[in-house]
């Protein structure tokens, strides 16, 4: 009995000893077991449970106080050794750290974006309860119809799933009473808007239910940034008054510095203060849709349930008001979690960039693993000697991992700096895709991510290196330092790593190449206009002054007259929108589409009605933009208010709706048959919504007959930018209260419309470039190592008569072989990835032969370039030296 309990105690003791470092155990385990045995024997002689307890307590405490100290000592010793080795192999360490910096930095940068945009919940209480409600006409591709006042009232009254429903729309108004008239982005919201989001004011109050009653005294809330930048964070701002839209507005509060969704606004007002929102048309006409609606779910209600609820209400509205909801357009209402809604357009691009960054990191890892293996090959003798002197494999592995980790840590720290430096670029880029971009910053999550990557990569390449180093270290002692057959297994692993690097680089380069080619194709597209020397100005009238159509017509007419009289103006036009307008690019044709009727045509049951985009333009619009006439006539001065209604369509509309007939003199109606307009002309197509989008059917109506002035377009004789001041002055001559904003040339607008694909291509290009550099360095390193390991063999070949060209061919050929293999695998991978990039390409197939060929040749050229120097050195080997060397 005593014997078995003794052996159990010994077993437990031996298990406890595993807490101590391996080397320590190698040195002292035997003695410690002997001492413990003696102590046990003594304890048993003395007898008693308490004695046994005392012994175990002292033993356990002793081991667990000694263990951390011993581990720490080894760690500091390893770190010191690692730093000395890194200094000794300076270039290797520098290249490895640089490679890791690029890989980790790229990932940290992209992760900071993904974290802010996709992962982090919205900064409001219970953000998962917030939803966005959209009305759609699914069958005709209208994704977001907007809502009218009447519809909002109906949804508010009839829904059973929301704790609150708030409306929002954004306008540009002019604020008077604080220095120069200031154009302010104004959020027009229902009284419960801030309560819905759970936003408390910084000072003062938010809105009260009484504020949104019609006729209530207008109040204003300032955003934090506007208050800070324009009023010096004046704490006495509450109570101050300003004039907007011919009414006195009182400031009642300032918002805290929270991100604002869906737009950044300078000020907020209640719905009752917006001249648009409160005019009769918007209040009574169910079809005047311009609002967005947010909701907060009741506790326990799911998004799906609210979706069903709203869908049912929409069906009810359709049945109750058939004139407002045409048949067969697929009218319905949908709900989406707000977070998803805000990140929809950014998601695919960000995930693509994350994948690209991950590729770069894998390539960097493979490179450092290869470099480490190469370095270990050179240190084989050192490692063998240390092993012979008693260092176990575990100890060597630990030391290698410490070296790897230190390099990865250095790479990670520098990578974070790189990520921090690229923050502004990322924020600008992502800002085009989602309003969440302003939340991007390097925080503890990103730091942790970088640390984990550093740890992960060091473990991967350190372990790879250790595992595949020679199993039998003593054998390497017997061989020469560069034995002819040394490390065959190791060589295969290194070659495999290179091939993987090339394959990943190929895939990345294909991604970049395709997007660059796509961008190039986009730039070549003819937009359908002559954008040179055309200036576009957003002229926002003081809406309350021009509340009816007649007044608006008058001021438009005066504006045009005045501007056209300005020296240097070739022609001028007023329109409701213009090509490459930012809203048009982001909203797409659906944002300005309506369904219409064609006289004499009835729809089949279930057939969707024809849909067109429309614009209201003055007669000189086509001349100013250089849009050619194809048939009939353009809009003219005679198409006045009282004259018969006319419309001009584009070629796409003709092809789509009158493919086999002449559309001239046909009649169409945009209001269900109440008013009919006659088609008087056909003009050329314009790619208004983006160079990569096919032209949509377009209908142009006359500003005189449908006044909707928004933009002033001016073709100038000289450089248009130089005329900006004069034109603004001309506008202010007619009405000093008109805010003139968003002044840019059409060429600029065209350029800006391609910003998103341009930046995506640039980023992918940067990643691909990094990959190419890293992979090339990898090939060069491997070739150099191969040459240094085969010095004897090459020396013998030269001694036996091999010409330098043969040696060159041998080395470069090897490099090409590895690259070729990598390219072959890369082709398969790239073809497999086509679905990922398809949606981002324009007129370029995902398996574009030109791009594949160009990338393949680039990589082969890189392989030749990287192999050349080692090949030259091999060819220059002195056979005598080679044979003498050991």
């Amino acid at each position: 009995m005593a014997k078995s309990s003794e052996s159990l105690s010994q077993r437990i003791f031996r298990t406890l000893l595993r807490a101590l470092p391996f080397d320590f155990r190698v040195n002292y385990q035997g003695e410690m077991e002997g001492v413990f045995r003696e102590q046990q024997r003594e304890m048993e002689e003395r007898g008693g449970f308490l004695e046994a307890l005392k012994l175990w307590k002292e033993t356990i405490v002793g081991i667990f106080t000694t263990a951390p100290r011993e581990h720490w000592q080894i760690l500091t010793s390893d770190c010191g050794y690692a730093l000395r080795m890194m200094r000794k192999n300076f270039w290797f360490s520098a290249i490895a750290i640089l490679t890791l910096t690029l890989g980790i930095g790229a990932n940290a940068a992209i992760f900071s974006v993904v974290r802010a945009v996709l992962l982090r919940p919205l900064p409001y209480p219970n953000p998962q309860e917030l939803i966005f409600i959209r009305q759609q006409e699914k069958k005709i591709g209208v994704d977001d119809l907007g809502l009218s006042v009447k519809e909002i009232e109906d949804y508010r009254a009839q829904n059973r799933t929301l704790a609150g429903l708030a409306e929002y729309h954004s306008m540009s108004f002019t604020l008077f009473g604080h220095g120069d008239p200031d154009r302010v982005r104004t959020g027009v919201v229902s009284a419960n808007y801030f309560d819905l989001f759970g936003i408390q004011p910084l000072i003062g109050r938010t809105l009260l239910p009484d504020d949104e009653k019609l006729g209530a005294p207008p109040v204003l809330l300032l955003s934090y940034e506007y208050w800070k930048n324009n009023f010096g964070a004046d704490l006495n701002i509450v109570g101050k008054t300003f004039e907007m839209n011919d009414k006195v507005h009182t400031v009642v509060g300032v918002l805290p510095p929270v991100p604002q969704y869906p737009d950044e606004n300078d000020v907020y007002m209640a719905t009752s203060a917006c001249p648009f929102r409160t005019n009769k048309m918007h209040l009574e006409d169910r079809n005047m849709r311009m609002m967005e609606v947010f909701g907060r779910l009741k506790p326990g209600v799911t998004v799906a349930q609210s979706g069903a609820d709203f869908s049912a209400i929409a069906a009810g509205l359709k049945a109750a008001y058939p004139k407002s909801y045409p048949e067969n357009v697929g009218f319905t209402s949908v709900t989406n979690p707000l977070q998803e809604e805000l990140t929809r357009s950014a998601r695919p691009t960000l995930l693509l960039l994350l994948a690209a960054a991950a590729f770069v990191l894998l390539i960097a890892c493979a490179n450092v693993a290869n470099l480490t293996l190469a370095r270990m090959a050179r240190r084989e003798r050192e490692l063998a000697v240390r092993s012979a002197l008693g260092a176990g494999r575990g100890r060597l592995l630990r030391q290698l991992l410490t070296e790897s980790f230190l390099m990865a840590l250095a790479g990670g720290a520098l990578g974070l700096l790189l990520a921090y430096g690229s923050l502004q670029l990322m924020t600008d880029f992502v800002g085009r895709l989602t309003p969440r971009a302003r939340e991007i910053h390097i925080d503890s999550g990103v730091l942790l991510f970088a640390l984990l990557i550093a740890l992960g990569t060091s473990i991967i390449f350190g372990t790879l290196a250790a595992l595949f180093s020679r199993a039998d270290l003593t054998a390497s002692l017997k061989e020469g330092s560069t034995g002819a057959g040394s490390g065959r297994r190791q060589g295969r692993v290194r070659n495999a790593l290179i091939v993987c690097q090339i394959a990943f680089s190929f895939m990345l380069l294909i991604g970049a190449g395709l997007t660059v080619r796509s961008l190039y194709k986009m730039q070549q597209v003819h937009a359908g206009i002559e954008p040179q020397r055309v200036l576009a100005l957003r002229a926002t009238l003081n809406w309350s002054k021009y509340a009816d159509a007649e007044k608006t017509r008058l001021v438009v007419s005066k504006l045009l007259e005045r501007v056209q009289a300005e020296p240097g103006v070739v022609s001028a036009a007023i329109s409701s929108r213009y090509p490459f307008e930012p809203e048009a690019i982001t909203g797409g044709p659906e944002s300005v589409s309506l369904s219409f009727l064609i006289e004499g045509r009835t729809l089949e049951p279930g057939e969707a009605p024809p849909v067109t985009t429309f614009a209201s333009v003055s007669p000189d619009y086509f001349k100013t933009l250089g849009i050619p006439l194809r048939a009939g006539r353009l809009l003219a001065e005679t198409d006045k208010d009282k004259a018969p209604e006319v419309v001009v369509i584009n070629e796409t509309a003709q092809r789509k709706f009158w493919p086999h007939e002449d559309p001239l003199r046909k009649r169409v109606s945009g209001d269900g048959g109440e008013h009919w307009a006659t088609i008087v002309g056909v003009v050329g197509d314009v790619r208004e919504f983006g160079l990569d989008k096919a032209p949509a059917p377009e209908a142009y109506v006359s500003q005189a007959q449908s006044p909707q002035p928004s933009a002033l377009l001016v073709r100038t004789a000289a450089e248009p930018r130089g005329m900006q001041r004069a034109l603004t002055g001309a506008i202010h001559d007619v009405d000093s209260q008109t805010a003139v904003t968003h002044v840019l040339t059409l060429e600029q607008a065209r350029y800006e419309s391609m910003a998103s694909p341009r930046v995506t291509a640039s980023l992918l290009g940067i990643f691909a470039g990094l990959a190419l550099v890293i992979a090339s360095a990898g090939i060069g390193g491997i070739m150099a190592l191969m040459v240094s390991q085969r010095v004897r063999e090459i020396g013998i070949r030269i001694a036996l008569g091999a010409r330098p060209e043969t040696i060159l061919q041998m080395v470069i050929g090897r490099g090409l072989f590895l690259a070729g293999l990598g390219i072959a695998i890369g082709i398969v991978g790239a073809i497999g990835m086509t679905s990922l990039v398809k949606s981002m390409l324009f007129e370029v197939p995902p398996t574009d032969a030109f791009t594949f060929a160009a990338v393949g040749l680039t990589l082969l050229a890189a392989a030749v370039f990287a192999s050349y120097l080692p090949a030259r050195r091999a060819a220059a080997i002195d056979p005598n030296e080679a044979l003498r060397a050991d």
């Binding site: 002292y28 035997g30 102590q39 405490v61 002793g62």
Partner: protein, 105 residues
């Protein structure tokens, strides 16, 4: 660690003997466990204060697993310096009448 140096002052010992010597001299006030003992032996060996002895006792008394440690000259010098420092401290404490009752010397 001082106690280990003192234990080796009168000749080489193996680990268990050091442990017993320290316990006896300090009347069990200082009790070393296997972990503490060998942690200290490792540090003392690393610092050059002790070394493994090359001499082995008679075969019949020998246990191959046991290693014998001896005090190096440097270790002896360090132990002496430490003992003198402690003696100084004791003299000063006595001069200042720190001990209320007379203590047996």
């Amino acid at each position: 660690m001082f106690q280990i140096l003192v234990a080796l002052a009168d000749g080489e010992k193996h680990g268990y003997a050091i442990l017993k010597d320290v316990a006896r001299r300090t009347a069990d006030r200082v009790r070393l466990s296997a972990g503490t003992l060998y942690g200290n032996l490792s540090r003392l060996e690393g610092a050059g204060l002790i070394a493994e002895s090359t001499r082995r006792p008679e075969l019949v008394l020998d246990d191959e697993r046991r290693r014998y440690y001896l005090l190096t000259e440097f270790g002896r010098a360090v132990a002496v310096a430490e003992a003198e420092r402690m003696e100084d401290a004791l003299v000063q404490a006595r001069a200042k009448k720190l001990f209320r009752k007379a203590k047996l010397a």
